[in-house]
């Protein structure tokens, strides 16, 4: 049952990722990315990471994707890759490079499977565990994150301001 669900969701995730990469229209790409992020959120749920699943929907599918769609609408004259690619011969090389990378990653995953970790103590899964960690061990990075977000906000405002005079 769980395995079937995983295969189904993984198929959706991989399919939408392929659609994102190989569809020409960026709006389609953005919508494929939403599907992919949703599928990954469901995977988080199956791994017992409820907080991350909700945060994934709120932050990625909510905030980040809206930002992407706004940018696509602002940049609408430039949204299609219509002209023939002048560097097509180079870009074809991406496929063997990706395949090689996938091979290396597969090797690493296989190695990590062989180095079977000792069965861990039952995890205090769920929201409580991550909340405790964030406000104890990771308190300082947590606070620094707020400064980072503030800096990003100021930077985005500054960059998108119209220069006058």
């Amino acid at each position: 049952m769980g395995t079937v669900a995983f295969v189904l969701i993984a198929g959706i995730a991989v399919g939408s990722a392929l659609g994102l990469v190989f569809k020409r229209n960026p709006i389609h790409a953005a919508l494929f990315l939403v599907v992919n992020l949703g599928a990954v959120a469901v995977l988080y749920l199956t791994l017992g990471a409820e907080f991350l699943a909700v945060a994934q929907i709120a932050v990625y599918a909510g905030a980040i994707m809206v930002l992407f769609l706004f940018a696509i609408f602002v940049l609408i004259p430039a949204r299609e890759e219509t002209t023939p690619d002048p560097r097509r011969s180079y870009r074809i090389l991406a496929l063997p490079v990706g395949a090689a990378l996938l091979g290396v990653l597969g090797f690493v995953v296989a190695a990590s499977v062989r180095a079977q970790a000792p069965p861990a103590p039952a995890a205090p899964d769920g929201v409580e565990a991550i909340a405790r960690l964030l406000f104890t061990d990771y308190l300082f990075p947590f606070e620094v994150t707020s400064v980072l977000l503030l800096a990003a906000m100021v930077g985005a405002l500054l960059l998108s301001r119209r220069r006058e005079g």
Binding site: A10, L47, G48, A49, L75, E81, A152
Partner: protein, 100 residues
């Protein structure tokens, strides 16, 4: 419940697709989305490893990755819009001024 190694394999596949997207596409917006895809693949690996070792540290790190990704997207899209205002075209092949 599928074994954790399946999640790792899925993460590897998604990451590789993201890399191909960054190389193949010319539209900086789509390149950006491919980068998000790679970040997500790494997040899946973090959560899977955390699950396997029975600790929530992986989840905490994914939380920080999400925050950084949000900041990155805000600034990156602002840069792309600014470039488009300057040039009225949008292809990474045009942006070779600082290339060696």
């Amino acid at each position: 419940m599928a074994p954790d190694s399946w999640y790792l394999a899925l993460s590897a596949v998604l990451f590789a697709i993201g890399v191909v997207g960054v190389i193949v596409r010319r539209n900086p917006l789509v390149i950006f989305m491919s980068i998000e895809l790679m970040l997500n693949a790494a997040n899946v690996a973090f959560v899977a490893f955390g699950h396997r070792h029975g600790s929530a540290d992986g989840q905490a790190i994914v939380f920080f990755v999400m925050a950084v990704a949000a900041a990155e997207v805000a600034v990156g899209l602002a840069i792309i819009v600014a470039i488009f205002r300057l040039r009225h075209r949008l292809s990474v092949d045009d942006l070779s001024l600082m290339r060696w």
